[in-house]
Amino acid sequence: MVSCAALRVTHTDRMRSKTFGRFQVADQGPRHRNFLLSAALSVSVGTCWAAEVFVDATTRSGLEFQHFNGMSGELYFPEMMGGGVALFDYDGDGDLDVYLVQGHMLGGKPVAEATFPPAHPVPLTDRLYRNDLEDGRVTFKDVTESAGIRAEGYGMGVAAGDYDNDGHVDLYVTNFGANELWRNRGDGTFEDVTGKAGVGDPNWSVSASWLDYDRDGWLDLYVGNYVDYSFDNPKPCRSSTSARDYCSPLVYQPQVDSLFRNRGDGTFEDVSESTGIRRAYGGALGVVAADFNGDRWPDIYVANDGVANQLWINDGKGRFDNDAVMAGVAFNMDGSPEASMGVDAGDFDGDGDEDLFMTHLTRETNTLYINDGRGWFEDRTVAMGLANPSFAYTGFGTAWIDYDRDGWLDLLVVNGAVTRVEAQLMAGDPYPLKQPDQLFRNLGDGRYTEVTAQAGTAFKASLVSRGAAFGDLDQDGDPDVVIGNNAGPARVLINVLQGDAGWIGLRLVTREGRRDAYGARVALEADRPLWRRVRADGSYASSNDSRVLFGLGPKAPAELAVRVIWPNGVEERFAGLATGRYHQLRQGGGSESPP
């Protein structure tokens, strides 16, 4: 059981904090509403926690998916990297469905030589599960066959986005091998349009991001590619103990990433060279798009494995420049490149800009970079209390989520080793990479504290976690998560935290009302505005719920106003939004808002 008396920092205390972020005072709208919201956010009585924060609802939900990585004792590099997840509404019924990527045998070996036999019939394919949500109860049904998705590649990750603006979310599947674009026909079925679209990048791709980099209203596609691995030349690698082990990515040549510009006619143009994004590259594993320097053009952050990361700043004229080193996000505070896997961007300190968090290898710590508003960052991992707790783990999927709805973005990290854990290896575990996941709570005073031990039995499981997609599966206003485990079961963790914290959810769509406005930023009007961004990317090889959720703390007001900066830079204001429910905001449907 956890204590109900969690201390909160009051609004006044935060204002006095010297080292905390800047505050912006909203001057629109009636002050009394803002005052009430501000007061609500500053209440010092803690939320009373339930015995569990997240419960493992996998069995109850009917999501029966076992990832098959095809391992056969050869220690093939790709076998321990896959496990992406997508949460998206494929059938337009308002709730989140799930897509999970699958692997198969590697190196031409027969299934009989698999270390862990497949749990599903061969040939194995990625799976699509429809959410038949009813009365808050999540129930998944495997609709892969009826949906016509026959994704048989060795799956790594997935990115969901409506590339053809028809109102139906499509899927880009990244593989070890050629990638696939599955177009959602809107009738419950999908078609493979990879060839026609021209986006079948043949490299080893892991994460991808849909973004409208040229602000022409069509979603473009950034694909992060990993390393040049070949079964014809597997390199025998050993760990520091001299035991045979998986290789480091530094043993292989990194592959260049790709950027595909959407022509708007169902096809894409490879603009990788002309936009300049091939001037720097490493083994990309995590990709997130956001406006990092506040100029209202989407930038791209690429988290690479073991080498410098890239921060591609969009010049608004079709070119990107890599400013990662000077911006302070290529390396950690010591100047060392880190093995970055998962990544997320978000305004965790409430100062209106997009900060960065990424997950790393055991003995490296995860890293948090705080944005100064201009696109320059400071590594404040140690100061935030995020260094020590992550030192012993290798993090993959991650996201900033407000799990307790207090308005502050918390962190959830899913872990799984990439080199064999000594104790597990010595104990004879055939897949000795297992690690537990972690939950960190934002204290609101510039620090995080690990609350894994208090988060419930769902966090006691130790698996080889990789992808994680975050979203409100049961539509109750708090974030849930589906975790992809390599050579393990996918897990559905539902947030069941009790309490009286209010919330409001927003789905932001483009002017035509068809597509989620990826890249749009929305600020809740209050003395301390809360900023969120519409996005599906981030985490690791996964695709998140693109709706934004605001936690409002206890005693939330009945109505709120928000300010939206749309992807094309236009601002609007929407007022009179009732809390405790979802709203759909369409560009053009609000009132003009001064910048």
Partner: protein, 544 residues
Amino acid sequence: MTPGLAGSAAGIQGRLAAGLLALVLTSALAQTSVPPEVDLSVLEPGVRATLSDARSLFDEHVATAADDGALAEAWGRLGMVYQAHHLQQAARTCYLHAVELAPGVFRWQYYLGYLHQELGEYDQALARYETALKIDPDYGPARLRTGRARLAERNLEGARTDFEAVLEREPNNAAALAGLGQTALSQRHFDQAIDYLKAALQADPAADRLYYPLAMAYRQTGKPDLARQSLEKRGDTEPVVSDPLLGEMARMTRSAQMYLEQGYAASRAGRMQESVEAFRKAVEFNPDDVTARVSLGQGLVLTGDYGAALEQFDRALALDPGHPVAHYRRGTLMEESGDDAAAAAEYAAALQADPGYSQAGLRLGDALMRLGRYEEAAHGYAAIELPGNQQALVRYRQGLAHLAGGDCERAVPVLESAFDLKGDSGEIYQALARVYAICVPTEDPRRSKALELARQLIRARPDEAHAETLAMASAGTGGFARAVEIQERVVASSRTRNDPLTAWRERQLDRYRTGRGADQPWPREHPVYSPERLGAGPQAVADR
């Protein structure tokens, strides 16, 4: 005896008895405790042997140990061997025994603290370090480590105190100065951070990793130019910390993998002789380690010992006949010695083992060009995929291979592709201008493009080769008088030098005089069709 004294004596005797019993029990436990089981079968042969020997020695010492101190020594030594080979759980068990038996011995507390720190268990690390420092306050590295541990724990004032304590004894200790710099950076005292980091760099100029936090501090103080200058000097070398106890443990390592890593680190830092020595030890430790042999061979190439390098590559191939890197490296030695046929065979073998080995593909193509096997070369280049602008070079070479083989038509789209990839390359400009002048039909608008490209070349650099190109393009667009005028000067210059291609140039001049265009972009014997061999220029170094 009075009752009080009697009672007191009884109490003392009781405590003594309990203490003795505890000691006996501890000793008995330590003597009967079994060392941790380590599955040696998963380790490389040399390490297996080392650990087996260490375990045998441990058993001997335990059997003959006269007191707890000797027992602790046995446990501690075994722990050191495990820790040296990164078997940390096993090492932990051993050290715990050692500190229990001999809590007053500095080294066991220190090693255990270091182990905790390696595992990120900073609280426990600090506890052990502090215990160790009570035993020996003068062991400098320990205070540095407590500083790092406190910094990681966000105890910034504690970290500062520790680093300052080190500086009291060693005012120029770069690691301590760097630690204070990092502490100041964490506290956002950027001016102070700058001072400390600069002092650290002055104390240890080779510690170029410090330029990065220095750059960040400059940036935060509004000095972006100084930040950029620092970033340009950024490297991977940390301040040297002289730690005799860790050095002693490191020498217990008997692992080819360990020596390989040492070799790679030395190689990255440009210390080639040191890397060769490390690779040599790796081979000595595990003669059947192909990677070690290939790495040693490559190190020997870079230090100029080609004969010994060849021997290593041969031995690697004897162990693994299909090893692509061994074939490739052997090929580079053949190429440098002038034997293109042998080099081509090795590169082909490398490609067969690893079809994605782009570098081998490029070198194979070049060797085939020098051998006059142009069609094969073109085919080989076509199969290569290099990232970014490097692909332009591949397409350029492929285009030349087609031209050398007399296949003008296939050369055009390939050279156009090279131009699209890297439109600012003079060589590609020149090649494209010439093929447009000769290889496309007369009415093709690209003939005019040839003239445009040629004029840009001349403007960029008015040399003889570009003049020849301009003459070719002029003739290609019907400007024969101009072509004659230019080509006459080219021929005159060629004659003056006794250039072997003079006859060919004269033939082109004759063609222009009679109203015909050039018959080929270059003669087959032109150096453009014979890519430079390894060892003949800067490319050799880059290739290595």
